[in-house]
Protein backbone atom coordinates (compact mmCIF):
# COMPACT_ATOMS: atom_id res chain seq x y z
CA UNK A 1 0.00 0.00 0.00
CA UNK A 2 1.31 3.44 -0.93
CA UNK A 3 2.41 5.69 1.91
CA UNK A 4 3.36 9.34 1.47
CA UNK A 5 6.97 9.85 2.54
CA UNK A 6 6.14 13.11 4.35
CA UNK A 7 4.44 13.62 7.67
CA UNK A 8 0.88 13.49 6.31
CA UNK A 9 -2.02 13.97 6.88
CA UNK A 10 -1.32 17.27 8.63
CA UNK A 11 -3.75 18.41 11.30
CA UNK A 12 -4.45 22.11 10.81
CA UNK A 13 -5.33 23.63 14.15
CA UNK A 14 -7.27 26.71 13.07
CA UNK A 15 -6.79 28.31 16.51
CA UNK A 16 -3.02 28.36 15.93
CA UNK A 17 -3.17 30.19 12.59
CA UNK A 18 -2.17 33.79 13.20
CA UNK A 19 -3.61 36.17 10.63
CA UNK A 20 -2.85 39.90 10.42
CA UNK A 21 -5.66 42.29 11.41
CA UNK A 22 -6.34 43.19 7.75
CA UNK A 23 -6.93 39.52 6.94
CA UNK A 24 -9.41 39.26 9.83
CA UNK A 25 -11.20 42.36 8.51
CA UNK A 26 -11.39 40.81 5.06
CA UNK A 27 -12.80 37.54 6.44
CA UNK A 28 -15.24 39.51 8.62
CA UNK A 29 -16.37 41.51 5.56
CA UNK A 30 -17.52 38.22 4.02
CA UNK A 31 -19.13 36.98 7.25
CA UNK A 32 -21.00 40.29 7.72
CA UNK A 33 -22.15 40.09 4.06
CA UNK A 34 -23.56 36.63 4.71
CA UNK A 35 -25.23 37.94 7.89
CA UNK A 36 -26.77 40.80 5.90
CA UNK A 37 -28.13 38.42 3.29
CA UNK A 38 -29.73 36.22 5.97
CA UNK A 39 -31.22 39.21 7.82
CA UNK A 40 -32.65 40.61 4.57
CA UNK A 41 -34.39 37.27 4.04
CA UNK A 42 -35.73 37.71 7.60
CA UNK A 43 -37.13 41.15 6.69
CA UNK A 44 -38.72 39.73 3.56
CA UNK A 45 -40.34 36.98 5.65
CA UNK A 46 -41.61 39.67 8.05
CA UNK A 47 -43.16 41.71 5.19
CA UNK A 48 -44.78 38.54 3.82
CA UNK A 49 -46.22 37.81 7.26
CA UNK A 50 -47.69 41.32 7.51
CA UNK A 51 -49.19 41.16 4.02
CA UNK A 52 -50.55 37.62 4.18
CA UNK A 53 -52.00 37.73 7.71
CA UNK A 54 -54.19 40.81 8.22
CA UNK A 55 -54.50 39.94 11.92
CA UNK A 56 -50.78 40.65 12.35
CA UNK A 57 -50.09 44.39 12.42
CA UNK A 58 -46.82 46.30 12.33
CA UNK A 59 -47.53 47.76 15.77
CA UNK A 60 -48.12 44.32 17.27
CA UNK A 61 -44.79 42.88 16.11
CA UNK A 62 -42.44 45.87 16.19
CA UNK A 63 -41.42 45.38 19.83
CA UNK A 64 -41.10 41.60 19.58
CA UNK A 65 -37.59 40.40 20.49
CA UNK A 66 -37.20 38.60 17.13
CA UNK A 67 -37.87 41.83 15.21
CA UNK A 68 -35.59 43.83 17.53
CA UNK A 69 -32.86 41.17 17.08
CA UNK A 70 -33.34 41.40 13.31
CA UNK A 71 -32.87 45.20 13.43
CA UNK A 72 -29.77 44.77 15.59
CA UNK A 73 -28.15 42.11 13.38
CA UNK A 74 -28.94 44.03 10.18
CA UNK A 75 -27.60 47.40 11.31
CA UNK A 76 -24.53 46.06 13.13
CA UNK A 77 -23.60 43.84 10.15
CA UNK A 78 -24.40 46.64 7.70
CA UNK A 79 -22.25 49.19 9.55
CA UNK A 80 -19.28 46.81 9.58
CA UNK A 81 -19.78 45.82 5.94
CA UNK A 82 -20.05 49.50 4.98
CA UNK A 83 -16.91 50.55 6.85
CA UNK A 84 -14.76 47.64 5.65
CA UNK A 85 -16.19 48.00 2.12
CA UNK A 86 -15.23 51.68 2.13
CA UNK A 87 -11.67 50.69 3.07
CA UNK A 88 -11.60 48.13 0.22
CA UNK A 89 -12.78 50.75 -2.29
CA UNK A 90 -10.26 53.32 -1.05
CA UNK A 91 -7.44 50.75 -1.26
CA UNK A 92 -8.40 49.97 -4.85
CA UNK A 93 -8.66 53.63 -5.82
CA UNK A 94 -5.49 54.98 -4.17
CA UNK A 95 -2.94 52.53 -5.53
CA UNK A 96 0.23 54.63 -5.17
CA UNK A 97 2.51 53.47 -2.38
CA UNK A 98 1.97 56.02 0.41
CA UNK A 99 -1.85 56.29 0.50
CA UNK A 100 -2.14 52.52 -0.03
CA UNK A 101 0.11 51.88 2.97
CA UNK A 102 -1.88 54.32 5.10
CA UNK A 103 -5.23 52.75 4.15
CA UNK A 104 -3.90 49.26 4.92
CA UNK A 105 -2.09 50.29 8.11
CA UNK A 106 -2.89 48.76 11.46
CA UNK A 107 -3.93 52.19 12.79
CA UNK A 108 -6.65 52.59 10.15
CA UNK A 109 -7.89 49.05 10.83
CA UNK A 110 -8.06 49.81 14.55
CA UNK A 111 -9.85 53.10 13.84
CA UNK A 112 -12.37 51.16 11.72
CA UNK A 113 -13.00 48.70 14.55
CA UNK A 114 -13.32 51.53 17.08
CA UNK A 115 -15.83 53.38 14.87
CA UNK A 116 -17.79 50.19 14.34
CA UNK A 117 -17.83 49.49 18.08
CA UNK A 118 -19.19 52.97 18.81
CA UNK A 119 -21.83 52.70 16.06
CA UNK A 120 -22.82 49.24 17.36
CA UNK A 121 -23.34 50.59 20.90
CA UNK A 122 -25.49 53.40 19.43
CA UNK A 123 -27.53 50.84 17.41
CA UNK A 124 -28.11 48.59 20.46
CA UNK A 125 -29.17 51.56 22.61
CA UNK A 126 -31.51 52.86 19.90
CA UNK A 127 -33.12 49.53 18.94
CA UNK A 128 -33.58 48.20 22.47
CA UNK A 129 -34.47 51.68 23.92
CA UNK A 130 -31.78 51.43 26.63
Amino acid sequence: MYQHPGNRPVFLNLMKIRLPLNAWLSVSHRISGLGLFISLIGYLALINLLLLHPAVSLNSVQDHWIVLSLHTVLWIALSFHWLSGLRHLLAEHFTSATPYQVINSKGVSQLLLLSWGMVSVFIIKLVWSL
Binding site: I41, L50, S57, N59, Q62, L78, L89
Partner: protein, 115 residues
Amino acid sequence: MNLQSLSGKQAHIWQRLSALYLLIYTPYLAWISLSISPQESLPNLAALLLSPIYLLPSLVAILLIIVHSWIGLRDIIIDYTPRAHTILWLWGLRWLLIVISMNIVWVLFTLYFTH
Protein backbone atom coordinates in the same frame (compact mmCIF):
# COMPACT_ATOMS: atom_id res chain seq x y z
CA MET B 1 -23.44 26.73 -15.56
CA ASN B 2 -19.76 25.82 -15.35
CA LEU B 3 -17.00 27.44 -13.31
CA GLN B 4 -15.05 28.56 -16.40
CA SER B 5 -18.03 30.60 -17.64
CA LEU B 6 -18.09 32.74 -14.48
CA SER B 7 -16.19 35.87 -15.46
CA GLY B 8 -13.90 37.43 -12.87
CA LYS B 9 -13.46 40.80 -14.60
CA GLN B 10 -17.13 41.55 -15.24
CA ALA B 11 -18.04 40.38 -11.75
CA HIS B 12 -15.38 42.68 -10.30
CA ILE B 13 -16.74 45.69 -12.23
CA TRP B 14 -20.35 44.99 -11.15
CA GLN B 15 -19.25 44.40 -7.56
CA ARG B 16 -17.46 47.77 -7.47
CA LEU B 17 -20.28 49.68 -9.21
CA SER B 18 -22.92 48.24 -6.87
CA ALA B 19 -20.64 48.88 -3.87
CA LEU B 20 -20.26 52.55 -4.86
CA TYR B 21 -24.03 53.05 -5.14
CA LEU B 22 -24.71 51.19 -1.87
CA LEU B 23 -21.98 53.21 -0.17
CA ILE B 24 -24.11 56.31 -0.77
CA TYR B 25 -27.50 54.62 -0.35
CA THR B 26 -26.76 53.09 3.09
CA PRO B 27 -26.49 56.44 4.99
CA TYR B 28 -29.65 57.53 3.13
CA LEU B 29 -31.41 54.36 4.35
CA ALA B 30 -30.18 55.03 7.90
CA TRP B 31 -31.55 58.58 7.68
CA ILE B 32 -34.95 57.28 6.42
CA SER B 33 -35.07 54.68 9.22
CA LEU B 34 -34.26 57.27 11.87
CA SER B 35 -36.86 59.71 10.54
CA ILE B 36 -39.75 57.18 10.50
CA SER B 37 -41.92 57.22 13.61
CA PRO B 38 -41.86 53.90 15.49
CA GLN B 39 -45.68 54.07 15.84
CA GLU B 40 -46.24 54.17 12.06
CA SER B 41 -48.88 51.75 10.69
CA LEU B 42 -48.19 49.54 7.65
CA PRO B 43 -50.44 51.54 5.22
CA ASN B 44 -48.79 54.84 6.27
CA LEU B 45 -45.33 53.30 6.07
CA ALA B 46 -46.12 51.78 2.66
CA ALA B 47 -47.42 55.14 1.36
CA LEU B 48 -44.27 56.86 2.58
CA LEU B 49 -41.87 54.28 1.16
CA LEU B 50 -43.73 54.11 -2.18
CA SER B 51 -43.43 57.85 -2.79
CA PRO B 52 -41.00 58.56 -5.68
CA ILE B 53 -38.34 60.19 -3.48
CA TYR B 54 -37.92 56.92 -1.55
CA LEU B 55 -39.03 54.40 -4.16
CA LEU B 56 -36.69 55.18 -7.06
CA PRO B 57 -33.38 55.10 -5.13
CA SER B 58 -34.63 52.02 -3.21
CA LEU B 59 -35.56 50.11 -6.38
CA VAL B 60 -32.08 50.72 -7.81
CA ALA B 61 -30.61 49.66 -4.45
CA ILE B 62 -32.67 46.42 -4.39
CA LEU B 63 -31.47 45.52 -7.89
CA LEU B 64 -27.85 46.26 -6.99
CA ILE B 65 -28.13 44.38 -3.66
CA ILE B 66 -29.19 41.29 -5.65
CA VAL B 67 -26.22 41.73 -8.01
CA HIS B 68 -23.83 42.41 -5.10
CA SER B 69 -25.17 39.37 -3.18
CA TRP B 70 -24.85 37.08 -6.19
CA ILE B 71 -21.22 38.00 -6.78
CA GLY B 72 -20.23 38.06 -3.10
CA LEU B 73 -21.92 34.78 -2.17
CA ARG B 74 -20.77 33.19 -5.44
CA ASP B 75 -17.17 34.00 -4.52
CA ILE B 76 -17.66 32.56 -1.02
CA ILE B 77 -19.09 29.34 -2.52
CA ILE B 78 -16.27 29.07 -5.08
CA ASP B 79 -13.63 29.66 -2.40
CA TYR B 80 -14.95 27.45 0.40
CA THR B 81 -17.11 24.60 -0.91
CA PRO B 82 -15.56 21.26 -2.00
CA ARG B 83 -15.04 21.42 -5.78
CA ALA B 84 -17.34 18.40 -6.37
CA HIS B 85 -20.31 20.29 -4.83
CA THR B 86 -19.58 23.85 -6.02
CA ILE B 87 -21.91 23.78 -9.06
CA LEU B 88 -24.75 22.42 -6.92
CA TRP B 89 -24.30 25.23 -4.38
CA LEU B 90 -24.15 27.82 -7.18
CA TRP B 91 -27.40 26.52 -8.67
CA GLY B 92 -28.98 26.64 -5.21
CA LEU B 93 -27.87 30.23 -4.75
CA ARG B 94 -29.11 31.21 -8.20
CA TRP B 95 -32.57 29.75 -7.55
CA LEU B 96 -32.72 31.30 -4.08
CA LEU B 97 -32.04 34.73 -5.61
CA ILE B 98 -34.65 34.14 -8.33
CA VAL B 99 -37.26 33.21 -5.69
CA ILE B 100 -36.28 36.23 -3.55
CA SER B 101 -36.52 38.55 -6.59
CA MET B 102 -39.97 37.23 -7.50
CA ASN B 103 -41.11 37.64 -3.89
CA ILE B 104 -39.83 41.25 -3.82
CA VAL B 105 -41.77 42.02 -7.03
CA TRP B 106 -44.92 40.49 -5.47
CA VAL B 107 -44.43 42.51 -2.24
CA LEU B 108 -44.00 45.75 -4.19
CA PHE B 109 -47.09 45.11 -6.34
CA THR B 110 -49.15 44.15 -3.27
CA LEU B 111 -48.06 47.24 -1.34
CA TYR B 112 -48.63 49.50 -4.36
CA PHE B 113 -52.11 48.20 -5.22
CA THR B 114 -53.54 47.45 -1.78
CA HIS B 115 -52.16 50.21 0.47
